[in-house]
């Protein structure tokens, strides 16, 4: 007898995972957006009228207090890993289908039959902190998933053996929409007047194949309950994370770094045994909580341009703990300063890649390896973010067109350079770009400050200019004004938003890129 399938469904998993990571209440209306479009929203948001596929502003107009979260598939998968672990403890052979959905072979008589087993599983998951769990049991995967979607919160629906076809026949075609690939098919079925899956199932298989293609035929086969149970149960991942407890807890960063060295070596060796290297590692430091339990007080993901060695890991621990104790927290995800003694440090590999892809050349890394060591020394001297690597990115103003990432990190979230960027200043790039524009002054021949009127005309010809490190200079040539009108709705950032840009050449041959904002002049860059 073919095995029965049990499907566990955690609805709106992206939202649940994101809220948990941001440590927000699960009851708040929230939506995960990707490219300004709602990808997933939770129940409270749906009650307010937010729907999938809605634009950000539409969603916000329906529900102003909507919590907006960024889509991050890695985070979803990472959060779902704990659910997989909990289920695996109850019963091995779990097949993760996608974050929020997993399947396993239904336990026959274990726990007193399927309803009991499902109830037990739901209870275990709720105990592990996953509140919204729905479970479906059926002969095949498709039916079990549909059954899980019919179940209430923390409840289960069991479709008896051989009853799949009956169960599916009553479902509306919209039930297929759980699979994003089915959108076109569902729309077509609706227009053809096929309202339920039963209507589709009643059609001859050959005709369905001709009219709806392979995908339609596949759905048709599933609707008739002829789907196959092919569960690819995963092998539980090897435990690659390493941790080191401190007894008694350590307070000094130096002492912690000294103590984690062997653990870092074991971590790298453990990966190397499986021919892996880590390119992204999460470092967690815990303190003793009020009731003696471990509380993670500092957690941060570190990316490495190549891969982590034990020495790199120790450096990361140092920067993470030191940066926080000084209060100069750079990380967005860091969880407050380390004020209490640290009881435990844990290394979790976030991205492990085959070592073969990172193997060194036959004659070794050579100069680059040496440079890496030297930079680590400077970082140890001046701090982690004192050594930067320059990167060019797209943008309009000169300051927006460049970025710098700390040495040893990968740049993320850069704007593309090869876009047209209308409104940027053409011509030679300035050799000096001020991150914060410096105040300047421009006067006309009669010594009156030059302004730009509402129509974008200058009120007088610029004749003298004052720039911070050159003092007052007569103007040799100037070009502009070029109006700038960007990001004026932002509350922070550059003061150059609704402005007019000028290029001003002093008599000594130095040229400056200046901007006039409401009569005030700023120096943005220098063509030194």
């Amino acid at each position: 007898m073919a095995g029965r399938v049990l499907v566990v469904w955690c609805p709106d998993w992206s939202v649940v995972a994101a809220l948990a990571e941001e440590e927000l209440s699960l009851g708040a209306p929230a939506a995960v957006l990707s490219r300004n479009v709602v990808e997933v929203c939770n129940g409270p948001a749906r009650d307010e009228g937010v729907r999938r596929g809605m634009r950000r502003r539409d969603a916000q107009s329906r529900c102003p207090e909507l919590v907006l979260l960024d889509a991050n598939p890695e985070r979803d998968a990472r959060a779902f890993e704990t659910v997989l672990g909990v289920v695996e403890e109850v019963r091995p052979g779990v097949a993760p289908l996608r974050p929020g959905l997993l399947a396993l072979r239904a336990p026959g008589r274990y726990g007193g039959g399927e309803p009991h087993a499902a109830a037990l599983l739901a209870e275990t998951l709720v105990g592990a902190g996953v509140w919204d769990v729905r479970i479906g049991v059926a002969d095949d995967l498709f039916t079990a998933e549909q059954a899980a979607r019919r179940a209430g919160v923390q409840e289960h629906v069991v479709v008896g053996p051989g009853e799949s076809a009956v169960f599916l026949r009553s479902l509306p075609v919209d039930a297929l929409l759980a699979d994003p690939a089915a959108e076109e098919l569902v729309s077509l079925l609706r227009r053809l007047g096929l309202r339920t899956l039963g209507d589709l199932g009643a059609l001859p298989a050959a005709d369905v194949g001709r009219r709806f293609g392979t995908y339609g035929a596949e759905v048709h086969r599933r609707v008739r309950g002829e789907g196959e149970v092919a569960l690819a149960a995963r092998t539980p991942p090897p435990e690659l994370a390493r941790e080191v407890p401190f007894e008694p807890p350590l307070e000094s960063v130096e002492a912690i770094c000294f103590s984690v060295r062997t653990t870092a070596e074991r971590f790298v060796a453990g990966l190397a045994e499986r021919q892996l290297v880590a390119t992204a590692v999460r470092v967690e430091a815990s303190c003793a909580g009020a009731h003696g339990e471990d509380v993670v007080v500092s957690a941060r993901s570190w990316l490495h341009p190549r891969h982590f060695s034990a020495r790199d890991l120790v450096d990361r621990v140092h920067w993470q703990l030191q940066g926080q104790s000084q209060g100069s927290v750079r990380s967005r995800r860091a969880a407050g300063p380390v004020l209490e003694p640290v009881t435990r440090v844990r290394f979790v590999p976030e991205t492990a890649e085959p070592a073969a892809a990172h193997a060194e050349a036959l004659w070794g890394g050579g100069a680059d390896e040496l440079v890496g060591r030297g930079m680590a020394r400077v970082q140890a001297m001046l701090g982690y973010d004192a050594v930067l690597v320059p990167v060019a990115q797209g943008g309009r103003g000169p300051a927006a067109r460049q970025a710098a990432v700390p040495w040893g990190e990968r740049p993320v979230g850069l704007r593309a350079v090869d876009r047209p960027w209308p409104g940027r200043i053409p011509g030679p790039a300035p050799a000096r770009v001020f991150a914060e524009p410096l105040p300047g002054e421009v006067h006309d021949a009669s010594g009156v400050p030059v302004r730009v009127d509402d129509r974008g005309w200058v009120t007088g010809e610029p004749t003298t200019v004052r720039v911070p490190d050159a003092g007052w200079l007569p103007v040799d040539a100037w070009a502009g004004p070029w109006p700038v009108d960007e990001a004026w709705w932002e509350e922070t950032g550059s003061p150059v938003r609704r402005a007019a840009r000028f290029q001003v050449v002093g008599v000594d041959g130095r040229a400056w890129l200046m901007a006039c904002v409401d009569g005030a002049w700023w120096v943005e860059a220098g063509y030194d």
């Binding site: 930067l388 320059p390 067109r401 770009v433 041959g509 063509y527």
Partner: protein, 236 residues
């Protein structure tokens, strides 16, 4: 130990002089002062050598001096220059993958620069305030030992050569019209007490990089109209 830099008279092949100088240094027993790759537009004017400190007074000249070596595969570090224009550096040929910035070394600038000299070939330094001769000699000893070169934008007690911008002319911008397009720069190179050598450089807008203009009057004299020359090389 350092051979006195003597300006070559017209007609003498500088390459031969350089070779002879290398042999003299080798015979003296000091570490060979290897020539470093220099931007083609500047190569005839000034050949960078490992172990030397070079002074410049303009941001773009500092970048142009190190761009040649960066494009040839050497590592470059920029110390104490928080407002570096990355795009301008890339236009001149700097490779961002082999460039590191230490924008604000604070009081530890000497230690940080010394640590960087150990691992990179060229360091661009923008010192804050006056550098005392003792710190400078410490760093210079390190430069010679590690075969690196230092480009200082600002004052430095003992420069092997000092590049300064003497005259600048911008084209493209009128009174309110056009935009900055090209810059013509007369650069003077001073070595010790020798009379300065001059060259006209052009920093073109469209192709990036710098092109050298050969002056009609040759090196060593400072008269003549700007731009009255012919482009001998252009890099992009």
């Amino acid at each position: 130990m350092t051979a006195l830099p003597v300006p070559a008279p017209d007609g003498v092949d500088l390459g031969v002089v350089a070779q002879l100088r290398d042999r003299v240094t080798a015979m003296q027993g000091g570490p060979p002062r290897l020539p470093l790759p220099t931007h083609p537009a500047l190569a005839e004017l000034l050949q960078l050598r490992a172990g030397g400190a070079y002074g410049v007074d303009s941001a773009r000249l500092a970048l142009a001096l190190v761009a040649g070596a960066s494009a040839a595969g050497e590592w470059v570090a920029v110390v104490g220059w928080p407002d570096l224009g990355v795009e301008a550096a890339l236009d001149l040929g700097l490779d961002p993958a082999r460039t590191v910035l230490v924008p604000d070394p604070g009081d530890l600038w000497l230690e940080a620069t010394a640590a960087l000299v150990d691992v990179v070939r060229l360091v661009v330094l923008r010192p804050r305030g006056v550098v005392d001769p003792k710190s400078a000699s410490v760093l210079e000893a390190r430069l010679r030992k590690r075969s690196a070169a230092l480009v200082v934008w600002g004052d430095w007690p003992r420069c092997e050569a000092r590049l300064s911008v003497e005259r600048v002319r911008w084209t493209g911008a009128e009174r309110g019209e056009g935009r900055l397009r090209e810059r013509w720069v007369r650069v003077a190179v001073r070595r010790g007490a020798a009379p300065p050598r001059h060259a006209d450089l052009r920093f073109p807008a469209e192709q990036g990089g710098a092109a050298r203009l050969e002056r009609a009057g040759g090196a060593g004299r400072a008269e003549g109209a700007e731009g009255a020359g012919r482009v001998v090389g252009r890099v992009g």
